[in-house]
């Protein structure tokens, strides 16, 4: 259980696909205009990640090393197309707002990276969890970015207008260059927090060591 929790924290924070690994930036910048888009895109990527990880993990011993990338891409594109058809059939408004970025999940490097780095070397269940956790990490980062952009750009939160119709948004943040700048700030903030935490942990460990040694000395005496 603890192992799973560690894997979760590592995937969502330590190795966050957007904020730490900086993978799949193109669709992040384009799609994070509204929070609903972020959730839709995040869910689509997560589903593709889980299924492609599971199938690739199942087939990992059958796929010859020479053609593994080709095999991965075929599997990934298959799942992406399936997800796209399902979204078209059941969530047409989401299909409209995500547009071409659903089929472009095929070339999103997060999925290939997880297939190559994790699923092709691990068993099915850990691979499924890895897909889920990476997807959650992706969605979380996307959601933070898009909530800020939607708030400043449209003055709304999950589509709810907060300031009435007279609100004039900051157009810059709605367009991709604004997203780029905002993403940079977000990455800086997250890394700052992570580094601070590490330092705290280190100093705490040192303190703990020192006090343990002191206790030892006391006991020995």
């Amino acid at each position: 259980m603890k192992k799973i929790l560690n894997q979760f924290l590592d995937a969502v924070i330590g190795q966050n696909p957007i904020l730490i690994q900086l993978l799949g930036m193109c669709s992040v910048l384009a799609i994070s205009t509204t929070a609903m888009n972020a959730i839709g895109m995040g869910a689509a990527v997560t589903v593709v990640l889980i299924f492609s990880n599971v199938l690739i993990s199942m087939l990992r011993k059958l796929i010859p090393n020479e053609i593994r990338i080709a095999a991965f891409i075929v599997i990934i594109s298959g799942f992406v197309t399936a997800v796209q058809l399902i979204i078209k059939a059941y969530l047409p408004s989401l299909d409209k707002s995500l547009g071409v970025f659903i089929p472009l999940i095929v070339v999103n490097c997060i999925i290939l990276a997880r297939a190559e780095a994790f699923a092709s070397k691990n068993r099915v269940l850990p691979s499924a969890l890895d897909g889920l956790f990476m997807g959650v990490g992706y969605t979380a980062a996307l959601l933070i970015l898009s909530i800020v952009r939607e708030f400043v750009g449209y003055g709304s939160f999950f589509g709810m207008k907060l300031f009435g119709n007279k609100f004039v948004g900051v157009g810059m943040l709605v367009s991709p260059p604004g997203a780029f700048i905002l993403l940079g700030i977000l990455i800086a903030v997250v890394n700052f927090i992570i580094i601070k935490n590490k330092e705290k942990k280190k100093s705490k460990e040192k303190e703990a060591k020192l006090s343990a040694e002191k206790e030892k000395e006391v006991c020995e005496q």
Binding site: I67, G78, T81, A82, L85, I86, K88, S175
Partner: protein, 188 residues
């Protein structure tokens, strides 16, 4: 010996990739089978909604024909069996790709309404045109192809989105649907 090994390896590669592709193909065939009708239904629904925005009610009957881009489909709109006008589906090029829009034409050949089915124009710029119903309303009542100046101007900052709407309306009007200006023989 090594040649034989190489052969074996090549065959294994080909067979594996074929099997994986077949597997994925089967999966997609299944998903397609499940979603096909539903997707067609959703597309139809989007069209119907666009028609409903313009005409309020009515059923559509597609008028088949070879249309030149940007016109893609023409519908006859009927209420209780009587034609109340036409809807022309056009997809002129905007700034972010095609702007799919429905142009409603009255039986007299005038623009009755415009409804945008889908677009990918820039938020806050192109959307000033394609999501602005009062701007689109400038085109209502026009019977002849429009150029900027006769009461309609491009929105500044969104020239190409404005051009898309103009081109779409003009293409629909150029079909000459309606009784007053019969140019083609396709109208009923």
């Amino acid at each position: 010996m090594s040649n034989e090994n190489n052969m074996k390896k090549s065959i294994r590669i080909v067979v594996t990739l074929c099997l994986i592709t077949a597997l994925v193909g089967a999966l997609l065939a299944f998903v397609n089978l499940v979603t096909k009708d539903r997707i067609a239904e959703q597309n139809q629904k989007a069209m119907d909604e666009a028609v409903a925005v313009i005409f309020g009610e009515g059923t559509t009957e597609e008028i088949a024909g070879d249309y030149q881009a940007p016109v893609s489909k023409v519908f006859d709109v009927k209420v209780a069996g009587h034609s109340v006008g036409y809807c022309v589906l056009v997809n002129p090029k905007g700034y972010g790709g095609a702007v799919e829009m429905m142009v409603g034409i009255t039986p007299e050949g005038a623009v009755r309404g415009i409804s945008i089915v889908s677009h990918s124009e820039t938020p806050n710029l192109g959307t000033k045109v394609v999501e602005n119903t009062s701007y689109l309303a400038n085109y209502f009542g026009k019977t002849q192809p429009v150029s900027y100046g006769d009461g309609i101007e491009a929105v500044s900052g969104a020239t190409r989105s404005s051009n898309a709407v103009r081109d779409g309306v003009n293409a629909a009007l150029a079909l000459g649907l309606g009784k007053k200006v019969p140019v083609t023989d396709q109208e009923g």
